[in-house]
Amino acid sequence: MNTRWNEKLRRNGFGWGLVLPSLLFLGMFTYYPMLKSAWLSLFEQNLAVRTPVFVGMDNYKALLHDPVFIEVFRNNIWFAVGTVPVSMALAFVMALFADKAIRGKGLVRIAFFYPNMIPMIAAASIWLFLYMPQFGLFARFASWFTGSEVNLLGNPDTVLGSLIVMTVWKEAGYFMIFYLAGLQQIPKDLYESASVDGIGVWTQQLRITIPLTMPTTLFVTVVAITNAFKWVDHLWMMTKGGPDHASSLLLYYIYETTFSFNDQGMAAAMTVVMIVLLLVISCFQFAGWERQIHYQ
């Protein structure tokens, strides 16, 4: 009896000892900050109110009435709507191409994946020039279309779209990787027997490839949506969220509220909103994982 207790105690001590280092850092920089944000979001503290005053849900109510916050939120939704489907569709098509033993597939893989290897801030500095009025390659291209000089990043109507194009360029190759992995898991004899039965290539994609890569699609969708709420470096470099908040996104607005306006209560409240949003999106991911397990 005694030795069994001893064994149990030792095993538990050992297990906890092993996870402790990780748990310590996670506690300090994930759980504690989350709780702290939730707590601080109930207080008013900014340049005018130096010592925190308990205000309950007032910060959240203020957010609902803050026209900038609403605009930024709407921008972020549009940003997700613009980047997610296009980059995923491109990724899927590119993966189809790069998966087969076709000449030039190595080049396609490199061309498509390299944007993912460079920092967003570097991508932003390149694209800033591509979009620069008069001199930038894409700006010249656009003005060739419209017949007049265009400032793609300076116009509230075009700025978000321009950033979406850049983000699709940056991300599509990353999602291609997941589809490449997904395609490899499809048994090749499915296609062979389909060909023998005289089923065309297009129908094969529709009936075999798309359904069997569904788990990948689900997984990538969640990653892509989450990313749409995390990208922020390019704003710092290219637009500062402007002109007139037309390109600002949630995380950038939190950054501004924290470090430019010094409004801690509001920054905390927005952080909580972001956390809840990401947790909800992640729940879909678990549903996706469940599906993936069923398929295997």
């Binding site: 050992f14 092993l18 390299y114 939190i254």
Partner: protein
Amino acid sequence: MAGQALWHAIMLLFAAAWLIPLLWMLRNAFLPKDASIGAGWSWNFTLDNFSRVWQGAPFGQYMWNTLLVTSGIFAVQIVTLTLAAYAFARVAFVGRHIVFMLFLVQIMVPSDVLIFSNYQIINELGLLDTKIGIMLPYFASAFGVFLLRQAFKQLPYELDEAARVEGCSSLGILLRIYIPLSKPVYLSFAIVSISFHWNDFLWPLIVTNSPENRLLTVGLAMFAKSTEAGAQWTDVSAATLIVTAPMLIGFMLFQRQFISSFMHSGIKG
């Protein structure tokens, strides 16, 4: 067959379009300053931009800092995640399901979102504008723990038992069996972790404010902002090339490993 050729052509066209930003950067990085603003196309070639950039900002220092920070983070991560992954894979301790759920939280709520509170914590610790302050929040990686736990779980238990019969301790088994047999997973994690931290921007920007502790990405952003728009874009292109070159060269050389490690980590993470 015609359809095949068309499909082929369209894809290669896409690939070519994707390369435009890279080629544009390369061209400007090597183009004489006055030629870049000129209307026509120029085939002139110069290395002046690089020497000017190198003198204009301490990019050597930035690169050293980035190297230090990324390898420091990775070195600590290896230790913390190996231990935790082993516990989750092979030690039946009380509460491990709850702890496992707690680890999931970090994957769902990445530290980018928590910059506001994390900044305050680093401030309270007195670690603002230090390299350790940049590294600290990343010392534990739940993602890495999941990745490695999966690998550990796939190793046959018989190895474990055989080693134990030989009188090997748990930590000995971990060191002599689990770690060597999981090398490919470590490599995958290394690539993902290092490329992520090499490219990270917002957090290092917030934490540092002196050139001694600035990372490459932050240095590039500062440099680009300080130059007058347009007039010096050859310089900025050269600086961008300096910052992106290490990752780009690594990727070109080990394309297969890079892509397979991303596949690996993405699907199983």
